[in-house]
């Protein structure tokens, strides 16, 4: 159940919403953030600011009202800011953080693990209508991008118009959404202080379709599939460092605990080791936010590892969504007497 800390009265909120109706989510957030900075409720704002390129807004802190002029919120704001709240929780005062519906699962999971401080966060649940994947846009042969219109999706604008050095191009919004948006967890925010902007459930695919496809392959084919995908891994650790579940102060792969401090794939074994263990460590904690796949410079579908675990957990131990509740025990820290035996893996064939 979403946790809503009411900081505005219902009436106040309605008025707020009415006056804001014509405004974009971005403007509303900026206005509200300015108010909250001004009245001292929050010490800073964690959101996105316009980056160097039209499709690359940057996660950013804003401490002054005037800085908020740079604040941006559009379809390219895919970054899940909940992980930044680990550090922000150590700062003095509250941090206003903008979380999309799926980001709130991560925040709740981090709360459960005592990694973020709820008291240090003022959560604006921002609406989300699906986020964009620049790699998919570029995969359509669109290059030399100068500007993009339509990144703020509305009900009557579902097309991106892109000005490039090589002419104008268009593409359908839904065709260039991030993979995770096609398996959207829904438009509900799991936790927030207030909500701004509308959301849309963009789910149009079976979340486990690809996992099932791979499961249907022969072991040899599966091996070849992952060997090929993982062979591109450069061990940059972007997947790990962006992951809100990978919140260890020091990762086992950076420490001497298991002699596993490896930086490079000197052998194909190491990339398997890294990705299996990483997925295992977040199993039962991963909210399936999809950040790992979004940031992988080599386009490895890393979410497949997490989804496989999620699918198994759902099948073996009952439906489970990390971050959907605050129950301290997860699937790997609980059990029932009648649990399936590990032999089921071999039996399934």
């Amino acid at each position: 159940m979403p946790e809503c800390v009411k900081t505005m009265s219902q009436a106040e909120r309605e008025i707020h919403l009415m006056t804001a109706q014509q405004q974009t989510t971005q403007t509303q957030v900026v206005n509200r953030a300015k108010e909250l900075l001004a009245d001292g409720t929050v010490a800073r704002v964690l959101g996105w600011k316009a980056g160097e390129l039209p499709y690359a807004p940057q996660p950013a802190y804003f401490e002054k009202e005037e800085d908020l002029e740079e604040f941006v919120y559009n379809g390219f704001c895919g970054a899940n800011l909940s992980k930044y709240m680990i550090e922000a929780s150590k700062l003095d005062g509250k941090t206003l953080v903008c979380l999309k519906p799926c980001d709130t699962y991560s925040f709740r999971q981090l709360m459960k693990e005592h990694r973020v401080d709820r008291e240090k966060a003022y959560i604006i649940g921002v609406g989300c209508k699906g986020k964009l994947d620049i790699e998919k846009i570029k995969a359509q042969g669109i290059k030399g991008i100068q500007s993009i219109q339509g990144a703020e999706r509305t009900d009557d604008a579902d097309t991106l118009t892109i000005q490039t050095l090589y002419g104008e191009r268009t593409c359908a919004y839904a065709d260039v959404m991030l993979e995770r948006c096609h398996v959207c967890k829904g438009k509900e925010h799991m936790i927030f202080d207030e909500l701004i902007g509308e959301s849309r459930d963009t789910k149009d695919r079976d979340r486990f379709a690809q996992v099932k496809e791979i499961e249907a392959m022969t072991p040899g084919e599966r091996f070849a599939f992952f060997q090929k995908e993982l062979s591109r891994c450069i061990r940059c650790n972007a997947c790990r460092n962006v992951c809100p579940a990978c919140s260890c102060r020091k990762c086992v792969f950076d420490s001497s605990q298991f002699d596993s401090a490896q930086k490079a794939n000197a052998d194909p074994f190491e990339e398997k080791m890294f990705h299996i263990i990483r997925a295992f460590h977040v199993a039962g904690r991963c909210t399936d936010c999809g950040e790992c796949s979004r940031v992988c410079p080599q386009g490895i579908p890393l979410h497949l590892f997490n989804r496989k675990f999620i699918k198994d957990i759902n099948e073996f131990y009952g439906e489970y969504q990390a971050g959907a509740d605050l129950e301290p025990r997860g699937p790997l820290t609980s059990y029932v007497f009648e649990d399936v035996e590990p032999g089921i893996v071999a039996e399934r064939g």
């Binding site: 693990e113 005592h114 020091k250 086992v252 420490s255 605990q257 298991f258 460590h281 977040v282």
Partner: protein, 662 residues
């Protein structure tokens, strides 16, 4: 770098016949850190140990590996030997080249190769060992006995006589347990009450025994030597200090329709009651569920008639929190429910009774004042059939797989008593086997057959069919004559299986004591530690551990007391040093480890840390050494590897893996 010594044992020819022990010693010298290696006929012998000690001193060894039998056999021996030579006992590793090698392999070359690998793994591990020192914890000189039957009473008396305070917690209003319900006891036929009551009185009068009746254990925390227990003293509604035990309240109580637990429901009792005349304490309780005052608010007769003014309707449950050094479980047993045995017509006929019900019928204080009569019509029975093993030794899921052990003897007792008092009554016993191991037991059984003419038929009863005339038709087989038997009987007595008191599961969970599939508490070792639970500081007394008769129960009760006394006699306990530890620089404080800790040994604290110059307050997991038993569940739950287990550290196990895969 360690200076490791490797000692290869021949174990006579047990190892040396299949493993080239000289080769193992020779190969050991090739291993990093190994500065000494030798083989010897019996390393565990005085002379063998002396060789180890000499090598430790002369070669300044910092760690040793003994290639010998299972560590479960001699790890302690070698640790102690090493300690005497000045080496930390945890710098000793055992390579099991007997049970895991020489005894299962025949080919010398192959077995030697494997022995070398096992030696290497142990060397690799010992190279990473660090000296461990057991911690100390204090011992509270007080014992708790859960259950006030004969087992609990005897244990409590023995502990108290040794000079320690003991508390007995009994859930019913009186101590005495099942034994108080029995009429006579085998094989001597002395009156149960006559031998039990003095014990009850003694316990009650003992200056070091406190009895909490009508009370239950609610919560247990802590660990061996230092348990903290919450005892719920249920509201008795009678002031124990004021009550004189005159019994008027029970007489005058208008609510008299409640089935008497003591008489197994064969008679009724009042709402304010003591279970039986000799109850200790002799103070009644008000059964609020059946009390008119509590149910309707109107009545209060007992308060009016009580001269002592002891009735207190306002009394509330009281929680007593007490510290104990040792806990003895003596929760006893009950008969199984017979719902699944409808073929014996137990629910259809009042004249089909269990043996415990028969005990009450035979007892002078029982529902029939000791007259043997049919409960249906009060007529004297002429023909009685006993059916053995009802729910015991059961192959299917209805009953218990085990033998209840006491039924053969009490049935012989019943048969004998009936034939003695009512010679005109025919007694037939259907049995699978008659089991009479025990002093004077078989003689007793033979007397029943030979002197008292009890008719024993080897065979099972398929069905008991109530007849229209009220008699019971028993269909059975005689396996010796191989024929069907149809027998009309006036009464049928079922020797129902006994099972641990159902509450024991709850108690075992609180105590983290292990329990088997039949709900019997598990002993630390079936043969060598039969009265200890694997959980330190928890001892087992009586039938909660397994079926047994009174003499066995009493001897086990004494044994449990001795074990508890042995613990209480110590001022300090050494704790297992192989415990988990959290590295404060790696810990995320995420609380995952506490979720899987079965001992509640992990807590969290905000601690100032200095992480290579970054000073900040972090939430850190802290392990209580005295509570941690070293299972390692937390170490795998911890993603960063902050949690590690001493003696079985990540790096040690990996070193073993590496050595074995080399």
């Amino acid at each position: 770098m360690q200076r490791v010594g490797v000692f290869v044992c021949h174990c006579g020819s047990n190892i040396a016949a299949t493993v080239d022990v000289k080769k193992v010693a020779e190969m050991a010298l090739m291993e990093p850190g190994v500065v000494h290696a030798e083989d010897y006929q019996y390393m565990c012998s005085e002379a063998g140990q002396a060789r180890i000690q000499e090598a430790i001193r002369e070669k300044q060894l910092t760690g040793i590996v003994v290639c010998s039998c299972s560590p479960r056999m001699h790890e302690t021996t070698f640790r102690t030997a090493a300690q005497r030579a000045g080496l930390n006992p945890y710098m000793v590793e055992i390579a099991n080249i007997r049970e895991h090698c020489s005894w299962i392999h025949k080919d010398m070359e192959e077995a030697t190769k494997k022995a070398v690998l096992l030696m290497r793994a142990a060397v690799a591990k010992v190279n990473l060992n660090t000296p461990l020192r057991p911690g100390e914890s204090r011992v509270t000189k007080r014992a708790l006995v859960i259950g006030g039957g004969i087992a609990g009473i005897q244990t409590a008396l023995d502990i108290a006589d040794a000079g320690y305070e003991v508390d007995i917690v009994e859930k019913t209003p009186s101590i005495g347990g099942r034994m108080s319900q029995l009429d006579k006891t085998f094989p001597t036929l002395d009156c149960s009450a006559c031998i039990l009551t003095p014990k009850m009185v003694e316990a009650n009068a003992h200056e070091r025994i406190t009895i909490y009746t009508y009370s239950e254990v609610e919560k247990v925390t802590g660990f061996v030597g230092d348990f903290t227990v919450d005892i719920r003293k249920k509201a008795r509604s009678v002031d124990m200090n004021k009550c004189t035990g005159c019994g008027v309240c029970q007489e005058k109580c208008p609510s008299k329709k409640t089935p008497s637990e003591f008489n197994r429901g064969l008679s009724t009792r009042s709402a304010i009651y003591t279970p039986f005349a000799q109850a200790i304490p002799n103070v009644p309780v008000i059964d609020r569920e059946h009390c008119i005052k509590f149910q309707t608010g109107k009545c209060g007769v007992c308060a009016k008639v009580c001269q002592a003014g002891a009735i207190d309707y306002e009394q509330k449950d009281e929680i007593i929190t007490q510290k104990y050094g040792a806990i003895v479980v003596a929760t006893g047993f009950d008969m199984i429910r017979l719902d699944d045995y409808d073929e014996y017509a137990y629910s259809q006929s009042k004249d089909v009774v269990t043996s415990l019900e028969l005990e009450r019928i035979m007892n002078a204080a029982g529902p029939t004042k000791g007259h043997l009569e049919r409960l249906s019509d009060g007529k004297a029975p002429k023909e009685i059939v006993f059916i053995q093993c009802v729910g015991s030794r059961c192959a299917d899921n209805r009953g218990k797989s085990y033998c209840s052990k006491i039924c053969c003897m009490y049935t012989a007792k019943h048969a004998m008593l009936i034939r003695d008092k009512y010679p005109d009554v025919n007694v037939t016993v259907f049995y699978i086997d008659v089991r009479t191991p025990g002093k004077n037991f078989d003689e007793f059984y033979r007397r029943a057959v030979e002197e008292y003419g009890v008719n024993y038929i080897k065979g099972q009863v398929g069905k008991v069919i109530p007849q229209p005339d009220g008699r019971l038709l028993v269909q059975g087989v005689d396996l010796i004559d191989n024929r069907q038997i149809l027998k009309e009987a006036d009464m049928v007595v079922l020797a129902a299986a006994i099972e641990p008191d159902p509450d024991v599961r709850k108690i075992a969970t609180m105590l983290t004591a292990s329990i088997d599939t039949n709900n019997f508490l598990t002993e630390a070792h079936a043969k060598l530690r039969p009265v200890e639970s694997p959980t330190a500081g928890i001892f087992l007394s009586g039938v909660c551990q397994g079926p047994k008769d009174i003499p066995e129960t009493v001897s086990q009760a004494g044994a449990a007391a001795v074990k508890a006394i042995g613990l209480l006699a110590k001022d300090k306990l050494l704790t297992n040093p192989c415990t988990a530890h959290s590295d404060e620089l790696l810990c995320n404080g995420c609380s995952q480890c506490a979720n899987v800790c079965p001992y509640g040994a992990i807590s969290y604290e905000d601690r100032q840390v200095n992480d290579h110059g970054i000073r900040e307050v972090r939430r850190i997991a802290v392990v209580n050494d005295a509570l941690c038993q070293g299972c390692g569940a937390c170490t795998v739950t911890c993603p960063s590897g902050a949690m590690d287990l001493q003696g079985f550290s990540n790096r040690q196990i990996l070193a073993e893996v590496d050595a074995l895969c080399r």
